[in-house]
Amino acid sequence: MLIKKPSDISPSEITPRETYRDRRRFMQQMAGLGLGGVLMGATGTAVAGYGGKPLNFTPSTKYRVDEKPTPYEDVTTYNNFYEFGTDKASPARRAHTLEPRPWSVVVEGACAKPGRYDLEEILKPHPLEERIYRFRCVEGWSMVIPWVGFPLGDMLKRFEPTAAAKYVVFETLYDPEQFPNQRGRVLDWPYLEGLRMDEAMHPLSLMVVGLYGEVLPNQNGAPMRLMVPWKYGFKSIKSIAKIRFVEEMPTSTWMRANSREYGFYSNVNPRVDHPRWSQQSERRIGEWGRRKTLMFNGYGDEVAHLYSGMDLRKFF
């Protein structure tokens, strides 16, 4: 097995904490954070699991929004990850029970290469890149986050989906030992999300393994999560353990919880209100005022064609 247990890693391979803290500070400054980053380094964050280990990657020149990234501290302490509790502070506090290594992903359904893959096997061929995306939560708040990952489509192609694969389904690992709130029934576990095949193959769809140049902290969905920046955040499923190619449109967890409020597409759309929250505007974390929400979260030029001819009020 390619996966290293913590005991197999020789001390020389581990970057000293001070070094990667410096590195994080540097990354944040590079990401345009300025003074905020320097101050952040002093406060420090509890990052569970392998989160915080530096990654090798190339910054993408094409996919980086020119807006101030949300501080690392906020990105890693304000999370919706119901497997660790329903308030936003719970994941950072409780996600230490998640063990992101060893990890395997089951691939099944309409493809030529189904099977159980070690995470390392999945990640190996993909060079990592950093992309700075807008992130918009359905609750009306947003962030700007430098993710590290690789195009989802590149990975999916390796499993050789067949012509019957019209949709791809993702599931979060179900293991109440690691995800304590799965013992409760707040949602119907395991968390399930899906994309239409053309959405999944779109170059913007990203498989994420890190943020701010470092390994993804547990509370952000370690070891591997989805990031679909033109959709509301809940579509970007965390801690993925299963990928399934299917012919029929799947019913996602939130659709099952409340089909009147959550649709399959869940594209960011200021003109289609959620019954609970107006989607016309949003609060960018760190700002007091409100910003107008952008159609497809500002990615309309790239993705609008995927939905041409569709009534987005009906297919919300």
Binding site: E73, Y82, T86, R276, S278, Q280, R283, W288, G289
Partner: protein
């Protein structure tokens, strides 16, 4: 309890009741309300409104159970604190959360049932606050009692408002609802006659 004791108790309760607001203000000024301070402010003032409504509704049953009629003299202040927190909650929602985006606020009130109900609860609270003075009590006489029965409707609306706004985990609003149900049960004629500690 003698009148002087009541006055001291009132003073202590006044300071205690104001404390959550002062702590929130201090938190806001020192940037200690977490990643989304506006959300914290709106949510916490809403929760304190509900708590003060329940505490206000607790006074009558408490008097009934203990036979301490002086307790009634605390009720007006507690009720006014419920109004105070409701006013803060609404102002923060309009001024900070929605940042005076009036078209959005209007849409919220018209289209989002949980906001409609919350708004209704606030509107009903206003006449109760206005008629809370001694002079108003005298002027309205028997009608004052009838008018102030609105607090039951307001409390139910408040809990429903909370229940409808949570996304998935309804534990907290259900707890508020259960407490309210017990408090409302004390208003049933059969239970009202029950005087365990009275000679």
């Amino acid at each position: 309890m003698n009148p002087r004791g009541v006055r001291y108790l009132k003073l202590i309760l006044f300071v205690l009741s104001l404390t959550p607001a002062l702590l929130l203000l201090e938190g806001a000024l020192s940037d200690a309300l977490g990643t989304n301070p506006v959300e914290t402010l709106v949510r916490d003032t809403g929760q304190w409104t509900l708590r003060f409504l329940l505490i206000t509704l607790l006074i009558s049953p408490l008097r009934q159970l203990t036979g301490q009629s002086q307790l009634l003299r605390l009720r007006r202040m507690l009720g006014l604190f419920a109004f105070f927190y409701a006013l803060l909650h609404l102002s923060l929602y309009i001024g900070l959360d929605k940042f005076l985006y009036w078209d959005e606020i209007l849409n919220d009130i018209l289209d989002r049932p949980f906001i409609t109900i919350g708004m209704l609860a606030f509107v009903l609270l206003v006449p109760l606050a206005i008629t809370s003075t001694d002079a108003m009590m005298r002027r309205l006489g028997r009608n004052w009692v009838k008018l102030h029965k609105l607090v039951y409707v307001i409390a139910v609306a408040g809990v429903v408002h909370f229940y409808m706004l949570v996304k998935a985990d309804v534990t907290e609003p259900v707890i508020y609802g259960l407490i309210l149900a017990v408090l409302l049960m004390f208003r049933l004629p059969a239970i009202k006659r029950w005087r365990p500690f009275r000679a």
